[in-house]
Subunit: 225 residues, 2 copies
């Protein structure tokens, strides 16, 4: 467990400064900071009360997983992002279960769900932040829905590769075809087939190390189609 960084909490939770000293201390006493290595499962659909999760540094992936092991990424959590769906026990009308894994070494704060809930029942700003954060994740998921329902697979793959390269900070996507399929809610063969087509068209280079973006202009055009 790591020491708590008060400034991070102030910056991440807009209501923090409006709390009384006693409320701050109570919340602090129920907050823990952990560092997880890449590839750790932080929250699974089976638990409902992992806690309110705030990312100090790192990268997390929130996703759905079916009984057969099919997956689809709903959103990523980056520095400063907060997730309440890992504390769905305090959310009356959230009836679905998500998984959250680290994609990089991640330092995160976990606030006990019951502590946040108690505060949200008496403090308007705390409740408002909850509503606004849930709305933000709702918007993330709607973007996923729009892509799945309205876009052809080539366009979706172009969007995914560009977003992923932006996350990785260069022109490379170091994921297997299987991992890409899990992000996109698709099957490995479908991803491999489209990547091969992209390669033939000169958009990307596919190798054992991953995928290198060769023609960003064409990928961008495809993504905006």
């Amino acid at each position: 467990m790591e020491p708590l960084d008060l400034r991070f909490l102030e910056e991440t939770f807009p209501f923090w400064k409006g709390l009384t000293l006693r409320e701050q201390q109570k919340l602090l006493s129920q907050t823990r900071c952990y560092v997880y290595p890449k590839g750790s499962r932080i929250h699974s659909g089976l638990e409902r009360c992992t806690g309110v999760l705030a990312v100090k540094r790192g990268q997390l992936r929130a996703y759905l997983m079916s009984d057969e092991g099919k997956e689809i990424t709903l959103y990523r959590l980056l520095d400063g992002d907060v997730c309440f769906l890992s504390a769905s026990c305090i959310l009356k009308n959230i009836s679905f279960d998500i998984y959250v894994d680290t994609e990089e070494e991640t330092e995160l704060y976990l606030i006990q769900a019951s502590a946040y809930d108690a505060l949200g029942k008496s403090n308007l700003a705390v409740q408002t932040f909850l509503q606004e954060t849930i709305s933000a994740r709702f918007s993330d998921v709607m973007w996923v829905v729009e892509q799945i329902v309205f876009m052809k697979f080539d366009r979706r793959l172009a969007i995914f590769l560009l977003e992923q390269a932006a996350l990785e900070g260069n022109d490379a996507v170091t994921l297997t075809h299987e991992q890409i399929a899990h992000h996109m809610g698709s099957a490995r063969e479908v991803v491999s087939r489209m990547l091969k087509y992209f390669q033939n068209e000169g958009l990307v280079e596919v190798s054992r190390k991953g995928i290198r973006l060769l023609d960003r202009k064409a990928l961008n055009a495809l993504a905006r189609e």
Copy 2:
């Protein structure tokens, strides 16, 4: 415009009785009741401030529509349901646009978005109801995502026919194949092909009037697969 039914407002908005008389009067002065015939467009993605919508009686369909006219139903609104996505101008982090149409003659209350917003900025119960209602719609949409990503089309169609027959209150689904495709985010040909298969298997009878469910047991088994 119809006279306002105070009891409906009390039952629909759990915070109503906790408001001061002055707050109630202010909200009432910004609330209107309308009766819309079947097939009316209540809210379109182009507007962002139609208002907070409460259904007194009837049936509405909230859906996404692409530039090419492809559609997918996100959820239905029935008696007593409230929708805030038709007032997304007051929702900081809602960045998507939905359409809302009546599917039956519908009596609905529209509260001016700014009036609800003003109250939500000072009243915890008003803000909490907003959060809980958005969470409920988020759960509705996640059920759609799970179906699209994880389920085969035959299972999805069985689920849709059973839900739709329950809404219509009998064993008939009086929708065209095109309308079913719009609900499911699919194409007419795909729906027609699967319905033909269902008919050959003795699950349904397809005629000009619509679809009649013949073997609920088999449809239920398919839906639960």
